[in-house]
Structures are given as structure tokens and as C-alpha cells.
């Protein structure tokens, strides 16, 4: 038995080997590489010797106003995109919960932006937020909510708002889908019992629905926060970090340092800082949410 087991074990390894080899070379080795490079003044020319500078790249980041600005923009993006995606995604899911012939149609329409490529929707939003675009026309000429046109993409905060609007618009369908699946798991009997007890709509939601979908909500929030700090394509396409680098986010700043300024060491340090930040945020959230669900259960 043990002999056949061991022989079977080798066959298992053979099944894993090709994929694992590629994974080790193309993913694991670069993970270690990024950490290593962050400790060097990295020379990209062949033959040039890179210089070990310890934590200098990290120290430099902490004293670099542009780094803090891009961190701030990433945080702003996260704060302005995560709550709306949760709230609106849940709202749409609740509205679509009841089975009806129209439900799959609506579901598909809300999901359409999710499957569309980031580059295409970023171009589209750049066009919508252009000076003579549909947004200005709707808000100024049509609804008269603004007294004049806003040059959205030529100011830091309005440009960030446009970028965030895209993030929310593209993401609602995804959180809706997660919530729809989670809502299937809410026992009808509980809901009815609460109704019998005279619980109002809000109370039923808070006492019955929310605890039942809490695990999915946790999962979603953690992933959305990670996604928020990974914003890249929409910024590159819509503003390319401009005007005057005021809308750089962490990843576009990292990219600029690495591939425009060819400072691979500093770029790597920023990448590592981002990875650590995301990891810490995820761990904190998982802990907080688990505690909360423990109290509510």
C-alpha cells in the first residue's frame, strides 16, 4: 500500500511540475526579485553593477511628497469607490431579488460594464467627462445643476471624481452579482417569522438579511479595498497622472518611476510598500469583520 502510494505520489508531482515550474519562474521569482531590487540602486544597463543601498529607497519614499500625494489619491479613490459599490450593489440586488422575467435582462445590463475592457470604458469616460461631453451637457445645459461647464479632467479633485465615477459605474454589477447569490441563501422562513412579529422593513433587513449576507459582504469589502489600491488603467488612460502629476496614484507613480525615469529600485520599493499596505489592510478588515459577525450572531 505504502509503495503504491509513494509511486502515485510521483505521478501527482509529474502532473504539477509543468505549471509549477512556470509559476515559480514567472511569479514567485519576481516576487522575491521585487523585494531584492528595492534594496538596490538598480542599474538597468547590461554589465553595470547595481549598488546595495539598504533601506534608502524606502526612506526616500517616506520623504517624497509625490509618493504621499499618490498614496492620498489611491486612498481617496478607495474611499470614494468602495462604499458606493457596496451600497448601490446591495440596493440593486435587493430590487432584483424577486424572480421575474425581466430579472435576467436587468442583471445582464448591470453586468455589462464589468465585462467590458478597462481601456475601453476609460476612453468612454474620458469622452463623457470632456469639456463638451455628455456629463457637462447633462448637468449644465439640461438639468441646470451647474452654472457653467466644468473642465473635469484639468483639475486634481474633479479629475479624481471622474476616475472614481468610472470605478463605481464599472463595479456595481460585480457586487450586485455577489449580493444576489448571497441573498439566495437567506432563509424565507426567518424573513416571514420576522414579518409575523411585526418587524418593519428596515428591521427585517437589519436582523435577518444583513447577518445572513455578512460573510459575502466581508469578502466583497476586502476585495474592493484591494482593488481600489490597484487602480491603474483608468488613471493612465483618463489623465495619465496629470495635470502636473496631481492625479498620480500609487501604481501609476510606481510605473512612472520604473519605466519613464528608469529607476527600477525606487519603483520596486513603492511596489513592495503597496503590497505590504494592502496585506495589512486586508488582515485588519478580516479581524474587524469577524469580530463583528461574532457579536451579531
Amino acid at each position: 500500500m505504502t509503495r503504491t502510494r509513494r509511486r502515485r505520489g510521483w505521478i501527482g508531482l509529474a502532473f504539477i511540475a509543468p505549471g509549477l515550474a512556470l509559476f515559480l519562474i514567472a511569479i514567485v521569482y519576481p516576487v522575491l526579485g521585487a523585494v531584492q531590487m528595492s534594496f538596490y540602486r538598480w542599474q538597468i544597463l547590461a554589465g553595470a553593477v547595481s549598488q546595495w543601498i539598504g533601506l534608502d529607497n524606502y526612506v526616500r519614499a517616506l520623504g517624497d511628497p509625490e509618493f504621499w500625494l499618490s498614496l492620498g489619491n489611491s486612498g481617496f479613490y478607495m474611499l470614494l469607490t468602495v462604499p458606493p459599490q457596496i451600497v448601490l450593489g446591495l440596493l440593486v440586488a435587493l430590487l432584483l431579488k424577486a424572480k421575474s422575467p425581466a430579472q435576467p435582462v436587468f442583471r445582464a445590463l448591470f453586468y455589462l460594464p464589468v465585462v467590458t475592457s478597462w481601456v475601453v470604458v476609460s476612453l468612454l469616460f474620458k469622452y463623457l467627462f470632456a469639456d463638451q461631453g455628455l456629463i457637462n451637457f447633462t448637468l449644465h445645459d439640461f438639468l441646470h445643476l451647474m452654472s457653467s461647464d466644468v473642465s473635469w479632467l484639468s483639475d486634481r479633485w474633479t479629475a479624481m471624481i471622474a476616475i472614481c465615477a468610472l470605478g463605481v459605474w464599472k463595479g456595481i454589477g460585480w457586487s450586485m452579482m455577489i449580493f444576489l447569490a448571497a441573498l439566495q441563501g437567506v432563509p424565507d422562513a426567518l424573513e416571514e417569522a420576522a414579518m409575523m412579529d411585526g418587524a418593519g422593513r428596515w428591521r427585517r433587513f437589519r436582523v435577518v438579511t444583513l447577518p445572513a449576507i455578512w460573510p459575502s459582504m466581508t469578502f466583497l469589502i476586502v476585495l474592493l479595498v484591494i482593488g481600489g489600491f490597484n487602480v491603474f488603467t483608468s488613471v493612465v488612460v483618463m489623465t495619465d497622472g496629470g495635470p502636473a502629476d496631481s492625479t498620480q496614484v500609487l501604481l501609476t507613480y510606481m510605473y512612472q518611476q520604473a519605466f519613464t525615469n528608469l529607476d527600477f529600485g525606487y519603483g520596486s520599493a513603492i511596489a513592495v510598500l503597496l503590497a505590504i499596505l494592502v496585506l495589512i489592510l486586508s488582515l485588519i478588515q478580516l479581524r474587524v469583520f469577524r469580530d463583528r459577525s461574532g457579536v451579531e450572531a
Binding site: 505520489g9 510521483w10 505521478i11 501527482g12 508531482l13 509529474a14 502532473f15 504539477i16 509543468p18 505549471g19 509549477l20 512556470l22 509559476f23 514567472a26 511569479i27 526579485g33 448601490l88 440593486v92 430590487l95 432584483l96 435576467p104 445582464a108 453586468y111 455589462l112 460594464p113 465585462v115 467590458t116 475592457s117 478597462w118 481601456v119 475601453v120 476609460s122 476612453l123 474620458k126 469622452y127 463623457l128 463638451q132 455628455l134 451637457f137 459605474w169 454589477g173 452579482m177 455577489i178 447569490a181 441563501g185 418593519g200 422593513r201 455578512w214 490597484n230 491603474f232 488603467t233 493612465v236 501604481l251 510606481m254 510605473y255 527600477f264 511596489a271 503590497a275 494592502v278 496585506l279
Partner: protein, 280 residues
């Protein structure tokens, strides 16, 4: 609040109004893009905006596919996405089968290493990956895109498929073994057909992620003729910031295959999307 039953007609109306308004916000931008792609350059970004092109023209499409070479970018995207998807699904299903069906020293550790791929942000790796690609002579090649797209999709796919293979009943496997079927036959003829729903999900997700990928293509590709659609679109718009009709003709060319895949495989997609999320 307690009068929920009596207020139902009003509630139903409110529900429909909200849903329709939401759906309009989701769809109108797409329609506007479609309409702009059929609008002549002189009529783009006029006030009031032209929602229905007058006069409509297919000139943008003719130009996109003709002088602007979008046909070539389309082919590049198809080649890269199809090969990368096939390779990623094959390799990750083999890994998943190995992890699910066999016991070998270090199995748990190897699986944990694989989980790194789920945790680390892909963009963090882009600098060392570029250096790696340079060492292997993969810079500015479609092969370089394919290799790293396959690698980037392995962890998630293996993770998803392993659960599926582990849930398949072992008796069938043993019965086939009794009949003298070798391991490869059992994997290819038994496990793979049974795992078809999960393989479908994994295939669609991998294809969409390759089709849409931008950052790595931006980094690796230098010659325009090697560009994939997302890269070509962004470069084109960067250089011709006002030719929106042409930009969106190219965008529609890029988006249509995705929307077809989405509509045809909607059900598989939804199942796969929610599979990981709801177990909690």
C-alpha cells in the same frame, strides 16, 4: 413602515423607476459610444450632443480596419488570448488534478506557495517580470505576452479547479484503474469531461482577462504592429486626442467579441463568479 402590504403598488412603481434609471445609467454610455462610432468627425462633441448620428457614416470603421490597422491588432489579440487561455487551462487543470488526486511529500506546502499568486498584486511584479522577459528575449513579442498571461492565471484557476476535482467521486477513478486505464487517460477521459462546468468558467475568465489586459502589454510591446487591442486603442487615443469616432469604432471592434462571449456563456459566468464568494 408597518403598512408594507398596503403600500405595495407604490413600492412596485418605485422599484421599477429605480431599476430603469439604474439600467439607463449603465447602458446609455455604451449607446453613446456606439452612436459616436457612426458619427463623422465634424459632428463629434457638439452641443447639444448628437445621440443619433446625422448623417450616419461607416467611415470610422472603414478607416479603423483599413489605414489604422485595427484588423491586425484584432488578430494579435485573438492569437494571444486563445493560446494563453488554452495553455493556462491545460496547465492549471493538470495541477489541480495532481493536488486533488495524489498524495505526495510537500503537497500542502506547494499549494500554499501557489496561494501567493492569489494574494500578491499583479502590478507589483511588473518590474522584475520585465527584466525576466528581457533575459529570455521576450520583449516586444506576442510570446512574451502569452507566457506571462498563462503564469498570471495559474493560481486562481488551479485553486478553483482543485475544489471541483476533489469533489468528484473516487469510485469511478478506481473502476477505470481496475480496467487498466493509465493516469493520463483517467485525467483526460474521466476527470476533464466531468469537470466541464468548472472548466467553462475558468476558460471564460482567463479569456476575458487576457483580452482586456493592458499594463503588461504597455510594458512589453514596443512595435505598434505587435500591439493588442487595448494597447492599440490607448496609444491611438493618446496620439489623436480628438478623433473620437475612430477611437470608438476601434473600441466597438474590441468590445463586441467580449459581449458575445458574455451573452452566450452568461450562466456559466454567473455560477463561476459566485462560487468562491458565497461559501463564506
Amino acid at each position: 413602515m408597518t403598512a408594507g402590504r398596503r403600500r405595495r403598488p407604490l413600492g412596485a412603481i418605485l422599484r421599477w423607476v429605480l431599476l430603469l434609471a439604474g439600467a439607463a445609467i449603465m447602458v446609455v454610455p455604451f449607446l453613446y459610444m456606439l452612436s459616436t462610432s457612426f458619427t463623422g468627425q465634424a459632428y463629434v462633441l457638439t452641443i447639444p450632443p448628437q445621440l443619433i448620428p446625422d448623417p450616419p457614416t461607416i467611415g470610422n470603421y472603414v478607416q479603423a480596419l483599413g489605414t489604422q490597422d485595427f484588423g491586425r491588432y484584432f488578430v494579435n489579440s485573438v492569437v494571444v488570448s486563445v493560446i494563453a487561455t488554452a495553455a493556462a487551462v491545460l496547465l492549471s487543470s493538470m495541477m489541480a488534478y495532481g493536488f486533488a488526486r495524489f498524495d505526495f511529500p510537500g503537497r500542502e506546502w506547494l499549494f500554499r506557495i501557489l496561494l501567493i499568486g492569489l494574494v500578491v498584486p499583479a502590478m507589483m511584479l511588473i518590474i522584475p517580470q520585465f527584466i525576466l522577459a528581457k533575459q529570455f528575449g521576450l520583449v516586444d513579442t506576442l510570446a512574451g505576452l502569452i507566457v506571462f498571461y498563462v503564469a498570471g492565471n495559474l493560481a486562481f484557476n488551479t485553486f478553483l479547479l482543485r475544489g471541483f476535482f476533489a469533489a468528484l467521486p473516487g469510485e469511478l477513478d478506481q473502476a477505470m484503474q481496475m480496467d487498466g486505464a493509465n493516469v493520463w487517460t483517467r485525467y483526460w477521459r474521466l476527470a476533464m469531461p466531468l469537470a466541464r462546468p468548472a472548466l467553462g468558467t475558468v476558460t471564460i475568465f482567463t479569456f476575458l482577462s487576457c483580452w482586456d489586459e493592458f499594463a503588461w502589454a504597455l510594458t512589453l510591446i514596443q512595435t505598434p504592429s505587435n500591439a493588442t487591442l487595448p494597447l492599440a486603442l490607448s496609444l491611438f487615443q493618446g496620439q489623436n486626442s480628438t478623433l473620437w469616432g475612430l477611437v470608438f469604432a476601434g473600441s466597438i471592434i474590441a468590445v463586441v467579441p467580449v459581449i458575445i462571449v458574455f451573452l452566450v456563456f452568461q450562466r456559466t459566468l454567473v455560477q463561476g463568479l459566485t462560487a468562491g464568494a458565497v461559501k463564506g
